[in-house]
Amino acid sequence: MSTHKPMPPRLIARLDIKAPNLVKGIHLEGLRVMGDPAEHALRYYREGADELLYVDIVASLYGRNSLTELVERTAAEIFVPLTVGGGVRTLDDFYKLLRAGADKVAINTAAVGRPELLTEAARTFGSQCVVLSVEAKRQAPGKWEAYTDNGRERTGLDAVEWIRKAVDLGAGEVLLTSVDMEGTKKGMDLELIRAVAPAVNVPVIACGGPGNVDHVAQALAAKADAVAVAALLHYKLETVGSLKAGLQARGIEVRQ
């Protein structure tokens, strides 16, 4: 066992966006409007979130451009990393979001359709900007399929194999959402995290299902590098501060 201290794990506030609103669903569906995303983002930043994540669930990048406006408005006031995803298809989309103030861009559908986009984006912007978003749905014990479109479309790809390949192609980070657990507050898919996190040499952000501090701690014990939290924060069941205090009390050293 290593005697070296691990880094403080990242606690990420995830905000699903249906512009101009922050929304929250269950299993990525059945959406409820929660308010202004930028206001929530600022609150989570002030509470000590280590990072923020915007996922545009209706891919409005090609609509009224409200996503880039929202990113601009948010980035002016928060000074921790901001990842933005949803509907990103081209290098130009990456450029637009980075220019608006995103630090990293998450892609799912476009990468499944054309995996070379990962390589092109990594070459152009650096792999640190390229986040592979995977919606994993359990098919059998120890087996998950990658989905797209908020867990509605199958890809036929084995999630773990796809992640390995995508990292080889240039993804610098993996956002791993369990479709089965998402929005349930029943805990995270620990088996999925255990299958993915050690399989790649880039950070894995676990997402979907945490309903209390113990669930977050379990995901970290399963070797997630970061945990993204949504419902718990949006419904004010916890604050970033109370989650961090809870992790600290369980012997997990977090950034204060």
């Binding site: 290593s2 070296h4 921790v80 630090d103």
Partner: protein, 211 residues
């Protein structure tokens, strides 16, 4: 009066977030790739994300190497961030051997932490002063040892001389030089513009310096 700072624009990486953070701290920010502007700047900030060789090539292509050295020679406060810090060193091993600005003797090498620690080093890690080092008077003045800041990098500067190390972080047994200083030249491997209020404070201290 707002403190003035020139951010060197050399076609590398995302300059928006650092500008926004500087403005948030009250700075008047000029973005420039002009040699004369760099030479006469009140303060210089060299940002950058990407490969060392590309960074030096872009600085050279814009004729900015000598103006930077001249400005530093005149005592202009200088801050390099991430790749901008690494470029301060003499040379790098990243994708072949490349000569740097040579403002701080030393090399840039690939991170080699022990097994179980991923590369790149991404996330928040704790700054500690090297033995005997005091942060008084540096850009880190007032930062509590052990405070975490945000890192994203695969290569790391190794200053030849201990006295140029301002802060270290431990990453799986690899001693990362997290901040360096030599006179009016400072550098941070981490991103102060992404390190929350602590990072903004570091930029504010840089902005309070003058020639």
């Amino acid at each position: 009066m707002s403190p003035k700072v020139t951010v060197i624009d050399y076609g590398i990486g995302n300059l928006h977030s650092v500008q926004k953070a500087l403005r948030h701290e009250g700075a008047e920010v000029t973005l420039s790739s002009d040699a004369a502007v760099v030479r006469s700047a009140e303060r210089l900030l060299l940002p950058g994300v990407g490969a060392f060789g590309d960074g030096m090539r872009e600085l050279k292509a814009r004729g900015l190497v000598q103006p930077i050295l001249d400005a530093v020679g005149q005592g202009t406060p200088f801050l390099g961030i991430c790749l901008g810090m690494q470029l301060l060193l003499s040379e790098s091993d990243e994708f072949g051997r490349h000569e740097g600005l040579g403002l701080i003797p030393g090399r840039v090498v690939l991170l080699t932490p022990e097994a179980g620690f991923k590369v790149p080093h991404i996330g928040w890690n704790r700054l500690v002063p090297p033995p005997g080092r005091d942060w008084t008077g540096s850009v880190l003045e007032g930062v509590a040892p052990g405070t975490a800041t945000y890192f994203v990098h695969s290569y790391s500067a190794v200053p030849e001389r201990e006295e140029h190390r301002l802060a270290d972080v431990d990453y799986g047994g690899f001693r990362i030089s997290a901040a360096v200083q030599k006179g009016n030249v400072s550098g941070c491997q981490f991103h102060p513009e992404k390190s929350g209020p602590v990072g903004l404070g570091i930029l504010k201290r840089f902005l309070s310096r003058s020639r």
